[in-house]
Every structure is written in C-alpha cells, then in structure tokens.
C-alpha cells in the first residue's frame, strides 16, 4: 500500500468496482479498500468462490457478478481486501485497519461506495437469539452454504425478502411461513408510479416471477401482518402476529426479518459530507450533485450508500463517479467526460425508473418505524421505545441528547441499529419532522478499533 494515491475508492461492491475500473482504464493511479476478503459487495458476495455446488440457485442477477468481478481483478487497480476504513476526514486522509494494525493513506480524490445496511426492524423480542435479518440468512447461504432449520419463518416486506425466499426454496430450505407486512394502504400510491415503472419492465417481470415461485411452493403466506412479535425465554420459541384481523402463533426457533435497506452514511458523515432526510425512502442520504460529488470537495459517493438504487444502477453510478474523478484529475476534458456520460445516464435512468414504485409499494409500516413501548430500540444498551418516548416528553431534543438521557446509541454499533428509530420516536411524541430532529453526530472511529491498534500506526 502506498502512502498516497490519486484516487482511493472505499467498497468493492458494484459501485466501487466500477468507479475503480473506470479510473484505472484512464490511467489513474487507484486503490480500492474493502473490509471483506473478496470483492463483490453485498449482492455478489463470494461470487468467484461460491461454496455452493450450484450457485445458479441464487439467480441470474447474482451470476452476472462473476464477469464484473473477473474484469475488476484483471484491471490495473491496487486492491486491498481485509482492509477496514475506520476514518476519513474532509482533507481526504484515510485511516485503515489491516491485520490488526492501523495505518493512514492520502488521496487526491475519494469515492465512497460503502453500500447499504438492512433497515432496522424493531419488534418486541427482536433481540432474542434465533431472530436475525433476512440479509444475514442470505449471507450465510451465499458465503457459507449454511441454512436455517426447516421451521424458519420469514417476515417483512420488499423485493429482497421475496428474492431470499425463492433462493431458500431452491436450496431446499423448508420455510414454515412468510409473514408479509406490506400495508395494503401502500397500493394506491404505488399504482400511481406503475406507468413510470414500465421503463424498467424487466424488474417488474422478475418480481412477478419471484411471487409466482413462492405461490407454487405452497409455503403459507400471511398477508397484511401487524402486531408482529418474537417470544421466548432464553432463545426464540414462537412468533405471534395478526393477519387480516386474526391472531396467530407459530412455534419456531428461527425468525428472519427484513423491511428494505438504507444507505450506510457513517463514513460520509465522519468526513463532514452533508446528509439530508429523504422522505420517499425514509432514510438519511448524502447531498450530491449530478456527478455524485458530495458537499466536501474531492469526495464523491456512489451506489446504495448514496441512496437506494439497486445493484445495476450502483454500477452505473460508480462509472459516473469514476469519470468525474478522471476529469478532475485532468485525464479527460469536460467535453470528453460529458460525451462518455451520455450513454451511462440513459441506461441509469432506465434502472432508476422502478424506484418510485418500489419505494411506495414497500414503504415500511409505521409499526416498525415507531414501535410499541416494550420494543428494545437500542439493542446495545437495551433502551426501550417507551423510555425514548418518555425522554421525548421530558423535552429531549434529538438523538444526541437522547444519549445523555438514556445511554441510547452509546454502544458498539454506534447507533446503526437505533438511530433512525430514536429520531422517529422523538418526532412522533413532539409532533416534529424527522429532518428537524436529526441523526447522531458521527465521530471516528466509524468501525471498532482498540487503543492498542491505534497505537500501532
């Protein structure tokens, strides 16, 4: 690893790989850092080293990643796997942790491509062992060929939940039931975006295919699920819920939750990039111009970390961000950049056309945004929704103050699992907007590092 590069890209998912390849193809000296041991990001996890004897059960979108990863590996890029970026500042100084040792490197340009995390889905009992995210289940399947016992229950909403259910069925996992929490009231709003979504007809066709494959499997699907909660003494024993007015209880040791994904903005926030509340996607996302430049000079942000767009659009955004760096570094003229971007933007628009439909169709139910009082909101410090409501009534102004009132958000996850819920609860009690209540202030390190490791640098 050199002490300085013209471009440092963080994240080897579709966005980061594309940004790095684009820059390398124009002769830019580029490093790509990723904490995972293999390239591919979330969607293409383990794609060039699958433990599955038949990776095609994961679907054609997954297999598409093979070529992308192979081309990335052949490009002239200094790729550093197993390298966690624990800080980035506004002067583009990068701090990384490799093999338990911290070190720093500088860059003329940065592209942050750290992707998304699953949206927290707080329900009573979600902290019990045996409850995990659907994404976690998918990671186990993709990277370890490990699957849950045959009584697994999937609950939530959104395209990734459907995809994951169909992957499990193809892998021979016996799903006990799927609990669909998509509110019926989302439909009229979504239908309004259906015409626009026809621009990305292939997504609609894929979605219908997934729904059809689940229907064919005869796995029971409970619709319009509300009042979801997990029960158990030491570990999960049962899931209780209401579906279309009737109460149900399913005994199970494994519950997998999912209500969509949200951008991971911690690194961008550490670097002082401005983030804004997005009411359509119900998440914080960085403010960017049309070249994906953040509000901090020299730092671009691409892919799902910039707002949820999906894997193919993330790849295209990565190319745009790459082109912009090449232009700023002087290896392309403005006209050359603009010309190269025309075709990319045209394809990107096609992939983005489905988003307003998906965002409104799978908008999470308020039940999971402002959960009932006995839900543990902060898993690390074990602070309940009731306690947050109480401190909001006492006048707590926002998430940062909530830390002082309750220790909420002070645990090792640094608010990744509670930040959005705390803000939504305070907004609810005080009748304010989430954009006004705000988010936790993010301070380095954005990834855990011990004092000893820091001292190694």
């Amino acid at each position: 690893m050199k002490a300085r590069y013209s471009l440092v890209v963080v994240g080897a998912g579709p966005a980061g790989m594309a940004a790095a390849r684009c820059a390398a193809a124009h002769g830019v000296d580029v490093a790509l850092l990723d904490e995972q041991e293999r390239p591919g990001g979330q969607i293409y996890r383990s794609v060039d080293d699958s433990p599955l004897s038949d990776p095609s059960l994961l679907g054609s979108d997954y297999l598409y990643g093979r070529q992308h990863v192979a081309e990335f590996r052949n490009a002239d890029i200094d790729y550093f796997p197993g390298t966690t970026v624990w800080n980035l500042d506004r002067n583009r100084d990068v701090s990384v942790l490799v093999d338990g040792k911290s070190r720093g490197l500088g860059a003329d340009r940065i592209v942050i491509a750290t992707g998304a995390q699953e949206r927290p889905m707080p329900v009573p009992g979600w902290q019990l062992p045996g409850v995990m995210t659907a994404g976690a289940g998918q990671i186990l399947l993709k990277s370890a060929a490990i699957v849950p016992p045959d009584d697994v229950v999937l609950a939530g909403s959104g395209p990734l939940l459907l995809l994951m259910a169909s992957q499990y069925l193809k892998a021979g996992v016996g799903i006990q039931a799927i609990l669909d929490t998509t509110p019926r009231s989302n439909r009229p709003g979504a239908v309004r975006h259906l015409i626009g979504a026809l621009e990305s007809a292939s997504y609609l066709a894929k979605g219908m295919g997934l729904i059809a494959s689940i229907r064919q499997s005869r796995v029971p699907v409970y619709k319009e699920v509300t009042a979801l909660n997990a029960h158990g003494d030491e570990v999960l024993e049962a899931v209780r819920f209401n579906s279309r007015g009737r109460d149900h209880e399913l005994p199970t040791g494994t519950l997998m939750l999912h209500i969509g994904v949200i951008p991971q903005v911690h690194l961008a926030m550490a670097a002082d990039c401005e983030v804004r509340w997005d009411e359509a996607q119900l998440c914080w996302r960085p403010g960017l111009d049309q070249w994906l430049c953040s509000t901090v000079p020299g730092i671009g942000i691409a892919g799902d970390g910039a707002g949820i767009v999906g894997a193919r659009a993330s790849q295209l955004q990565g190319r745009l961000a790459g082109l912009q760096c090449v232009y700023e570094l002087g290896a392309l003229t403005r006209d050359q950049r603009d010309l190269k971007a025309v075709a990319i933007r045209k394809t990107l628009d096609k992939h983005l056309a489905i988003r307003p439909f998906l965002d409104s169709m799978y908008r999470p139910s308020p039940e999971f945004l402002t959960p009932v009082d006995d839900t543990m909101v902060c898993r690390c410090e074990e602070v309940s929704a009731g306690e947050i409501r109480e401190i909001a009534r006492l006048g707590c102004q926002g998430p940062n103050q909530a830390k002082a009132f309750s220790r909420c958000g002070m645990g090792p996850c640094q608010g990744r699992q509670c930040g959005s819920t705390v803000a939504a609860l305070i907004a609810e009690v005080q009748g304010r907007k989430i954009s006004d209540v705000g988010y936790y202030r993010v301070r380095p390190p954005v990834k855990p590092i011990t004092l000893g490791q820091m001292g190694n640098s």
């Binding site: 904490e35 041991e37 979330q42 080293d49 699958s50 433990p51 599955l52 004897s53 038949d54 995390q117 699953e118 902290q127 019990l128 062992p129 045996g130 409850v131 995990m132 995210t133 994404g135 976690a136 990671i139 186990l140 990277s143 370890a144 060929a145 490990i146 699957v147 849950p148 016992p149 892998a171 021979g172 030491e234 570990v235 040791g253 991971q264 898993r379 690390c380 410090e381 074990e382 645990g411 090792p412 996850c413 990744r416 699992q417 990834k447 855990p448 011990t450």
Partner: protein, 104 residues
Amino acid sequence: MFRTLTTVRRNLIRFTLDGQFHQAPAGISVAAALLTAVRFSRRSVVSGRGRGPYCMMGTCFDCLVCIDGEPNQQACMVTLREGMNIETQTGIRDLDTGTTADMD
C-alpha cells in the same frame, strides 16, 4: 441449529469452541460456524440475556466473541481458521476495562 448444505464444496477445518472440538467448512466466518454449534454466543453486557449473530455484516455487534484470547471480536467479520480457539462471551463485560468476568 443451522446446517451446512450437504453439497458444500469446501474442505472441513477444525476449531475449538469453549474448549470443545468442532468442524466447519473452510472459508466461512466465525459467526457462521457458531450458528451451526450453539444457540447463543454471548450475553448482553447490560441484562445478561443471551444474544447471537443478527446482521452478519458488521452493523449490530451482537456476534462479539473472544478469538485466540482477544475479546470483543466481531465473529461475522472474521474468517474461521484451522485451530482457532473461540470462546463465547457469556460473562458480563466490565465496561471500563473490556475484560470479562464470569457470570456463574
């Protein structure tokens, strides 16, 4: 308990979990291996209740274990290696020192 698909294309490697020998396919994460062996892998430092891996991608910290003597490692972000000694953190962590005191 989670299971490995019978068709898995990996060699098996050996590791210890709380002193007991176990086997798992090479290349998987420590958290994946834990899920095939135990129902929970740590206790909350606040209430002492059981917890296990939740997100598998480094965002929740519910997978913390002690690996080869080093406590508070994110099991989902560490690849399992031959001969690793893994200990579940079922004691209550002393918040000031990060060390673990036994519960029972």
